[in-house]
Every structure is written in C-alpha cells, then in structure tokens.
C-alpha cells in the first residue's frame, strides 16, 4: 500500500508518523535541522523560505511547548502563522473538523499543523486536503508525535553522534505515550542497537516487544550502562483509572533520582519531552543537573520543526 505521507516519487508530503518512513528521509530531516540550528544564533533569526505561505496551527487539544515551537519555527521561516485553539472556537459550536479545514483552505492556507486527542485525526485531514497542502501531525491521541520523536533523536545525535553504538532507555508511561511510540520508531529506524523500555506492566502496551525493544520492569536493571535515559511524563489525568497506587509510590519505583542515575553510564544524558512532573517521574536534582539536556531538547525542537516544514513546502 502507498504510504500516505509520501509523494509518488517517495518524497515527504505530509508528516503523520515516523512509522514507515525510510531512514533516508529521517536523515534528510535531521541533516537539514542541523543547518537551521545556526539560524537562531544570528542577528536576524529568520530565513525567507516560506515567505508568502500561510501555516495554520490547529490545536484541538491543549499544548504550550509544541504549539509555541511550531509557531516560532514557522515565523523563522517567514511564513504567516495562524494559531487556532479549536477547543475554544467553532468546534464548540458544532462545526466538524473537515469543515474547519475547508474554511481555512478557502482562506488559502498552505500547511496544517494538527494536534488532536483522537488517534488518526491528522491522517484523516491529510487524506482530505487539496494536493498542494501539507499536514504535520503535532500529536494524535496515543498514536504518534513524530516531530517530538525527531527532535529527541536529533538531540541524541548531537550529544552521542555514533547512533550505532548506543543503549537507550525509555522510562515510564509507555502505554499512553505517543511520544514513546515515535521515539521507538525513530531510534530503531536510525539503527540504535538497543532500545529498552522500563515500566510497570500496567503502563506497557501489549506486545510491546514487537516494536523491537527490550522490556524491563525494574529500574535498577534497566538503567544499567545506558547512554541515554528518556523519561516520560506520568499522565496524571489517567491515574483515575487506578493503574497505579499513587504518584509517591510511582516516584519511589520509577522516578529518576541521582541515586538511580549513577547506574547509567557516567556520561549518560537525561531527556524529558515536557511538561515535567517534578517529584513524580523525575527528581529536581536530575532535571536541573549536569546530565540533563531537557532544555536543549526544546531549542532543537525549533530547528527540527523548521526542517520538517521547509522540506514539506518544497516537495
């Protein structure tokens, strides 16, 4: 079956999910992002690539970091940017998603950045839009968050350039995490030999091994000798389902403390996609410590999103 993200020539048309994308395209995005990192350090932090183009950020679900970095990325590419928090607009008056899209298309939008609580929302929009329009998935349900996965592997590549010689551990709520899924696909596609997931059984999807990861339930075993620790946010809003006894209990078993971090390699880096729950999945001493690259992740997120937007706009 034709991958809905690719043109007939195999170039990227929409970015919906990392799953199914060839290594060549992931590397093209990461290499292009490398060129955008320097733009932010200049006197004028802007390039004219998307001049005259209109990018619509459609956030059907709340987000601060992702929305802001997409907005900054589009502006640094000289696009005109409209950000709609749809949860507070016409959707609440009963308009369907596709009607919203059609109306924005009638205003000559060129690109949609979509976040939605429903898995598959971005796919549906990509199938619907006119051929000159590109769609970027900024997070759909539990399914995928491809630009987060990309910025995470970009950050890893910055600190640990030899991807073929790495042990990476992803810790926490894998079950509800679209970020974890995108990270796993990105890491395995790029040839990282050992990806571990560390979580209680209740927070792991069934058949998680099929994604090519090693499963650990004990942090002390799972963190041993890893080069990268990727923490996930404990999705407090799902705690109601009684999947876990309490957040204090969780912190004791799966929270990343300085004592647990010493089990990893001494030069290991610590990552978190944000927003962090300090004292739940990560101790402040680690989050603010010398091994943390959590804020560089945010900075690189802009360069990676600029790369994705400019590659899509050119194809």
């Amino acid at each position: 079956m034709q991958n809905p993200q690719l043109t007939n020539d195999g170039e990227l048309k929409h970015l919906l999910s990392i799953e199914g994308l060839p290594k060549r395209i992931l590397n093209q995005i990461l290499d292009t992002a490398e060129s955008f990192v320097g733009v932010a350090e200049r006197e004028v932090k802007k390039v004219p690539l998307l001049r005259g183009k209109t990018v619509c950020n459609l956030f059907f679900e709340n987000s601060t970091r992702t929305r802001t970095t997409f907005e900054i990325a589009a502006k640094r590419l000289s696009a005109d940017v409209i950000t709609l928090n749809v949860s507070t607009s016409s959707q609440s008056k009963g308009e369907t998603i596709l009607d919203t899209i059609d109306n924005l298309t009638a205003m000559h939008a060129d690109m949609f950045v979509v976040r939605h609580a429903q898995s598959g929302a971005a796919h549906m929009i990509a199938k619907h839009v006119a051929p000159h329009i590109s769609v970027i998935n900024a997070g759909d349900g539990r399914h995928a968050h491809p630009t987060q996965g990309l910025l995470d592997v970009f950050t890893i590549r910055k600190y640990k350039p030899d991807m073929h010689n790495l042990r990476v551990a992803i810790v926490g709520d894998i079950l509800h995490s679209r970020v974890a899924r995108s990270e796993i696909h990105a890491l395995t596609t790029l040839g990282v030999p050992e990806v571990r997931v560390i979580a209680p059984k209740t927070l792991l999807p069934q058949d998680v091994e099929k994604l090519g990861v090693h499963v650990y339930h004990d942090m002390n075993e799972g963190l041993k000798d890893v080069d990268v620790v990727m923490m996930l946010r404990l999705q407090n809003e799902r705690m109601a389902g009684a999947m876990l006894p309490s957040s204090q209990e969780y912190f004791k078993t799966y929270g990343l403390t300085p004592e647990k971090l010493v089990l990893a390699r001494p030069d290991a880096i610590v990552m978190h996609p944000g927003p962090m729950n300090r004292g739940v999945e990560i101790d402040s001493a680690v989050a603010d410590g010398s091994q943390s690259v959590i804020l560089p992740q945010v900075t690189y997120g802009i360069a990676v999103r600029m790369a994705v937007m400019s590659i899509l706009a050119g194809n």
Binding site: D31, T32, E34, S35, V39, V44, G314
Partner: protein, 165 residues
C-alpha cells in the same frame, strides 16, 4: 571551448585577491565550489584571516520550483560580519542568482562594510545587475553548457563541461 586548467586559474585568482586583503577583511566561500577555493586560498592569503562558508539553500529564489536540496550544509560565519570587508568567493559566475541569495544571507548576520565578489570563471549569462569584480577567466558559454569545478582526492581542482539535458 577548451577546458581551462583549474590549477592555473586558481593561482591567477589567488594573485588577484592578494592585494585586496587588509585589516578587517574576511573571506566567505559559497558551498561547495567556493568553499573549496576559500579553503585552499586561506594559507596563501594568511592563515589568521577570518573566514566562513555560506550554503544559500534557504535563500534561493527557485525554492518553490525545486524545493530544498537534500544535501543542505550549515552556513558557518564564525566572525562578526558587522563592518567587515567581505570577499565572497565562488567557482563559476553565471546568472548572479546565487550571489543575490548569498548577499541576502550575509546581511542577516550583520551589515558588512563592503562585499567584493571574486570568482574563478565568469561564464557569461548574467540575469541580474550583479557581476564579479575579480575573475581569473572571462568567457561566454552557451546556456546549454554546464561548467563545473570538481576536486580530486588530493585537493587539486579540475573542470568538467557538459551539455545540459
């Protein structure tokens, strides 16, 4: 046209650039040919000379038709452009569009005191009011020809001339 000897032209180019070097001069090579030239000019012009590389991919005027080149390299301008006399270096000067893009990019780093354009070959075919002040060879090639500077493994230069398909 006989293929010019790239090494001879390189020496001519270096001789012609030398008198322009003064305090506050920096050289900037345009990726990729111009960057190779700048790389080999540096020891001749002075190792301490400030220098950088531009990849003009983000400033090209044909992005809408051609998209982004898949091998975009980061621009590296590790010095303050403000008030510098910049010598912009490229291999082959043709339409002038690359130079327009390069100048636009340079100004996003700061306001240079001056920009001088030095190229190995001015092949004719200008489409903009931009021309090199320095060239090692001026010629007039048909639009159908593609003159390209290439580099041997040992770092020496040579030209290829092909018919555009």
């Amino acid at each position: 046209m006989n293929l010019p000897n790239a090494e001879t032209l390189f020496e001519t180019l270096a001789e012609r650039i030398k008198p322009l070097i003064k305090a506050n001069t920096a050289i900037v090579g345009i990726h990729s040919g111009g960057a190779w030239l700048a790389d080999r000019l540096l020891p001749i012009l002075g190792k301490d000379l400030e220098h950088g590389i531009l990849d003009v991919s983000f400033y090209r005027d044909d992005f809408n038709e051609r998209g982004l080149h898949s091998e975009t390299k980061p621009s590296q301008i590790p010095f303050d452009v403000q008030d510098k006399h910049i010598i912009l270096i490229d291999d082959v000067f043709y339409t002038g569009r690359t130079i327009r893009a390069a100048m636009n990019e340079l100004f996003d780093y700061g306001r240079p005191a001056s920009i001088t354009l030095a190229v190995m070959v001015n092949r004719g075919g200008r489409e903009l009011p931009i021309a090199p002040q320095i060239s090692a060879l001026d010629t007039d090639l048909a639009d159908s020809k593609n003159l390209q500077l290439l580099r041997h493994k040992n770092g020496t230069f040579y030209f290829t001339l092909e018919e555009n398909t």
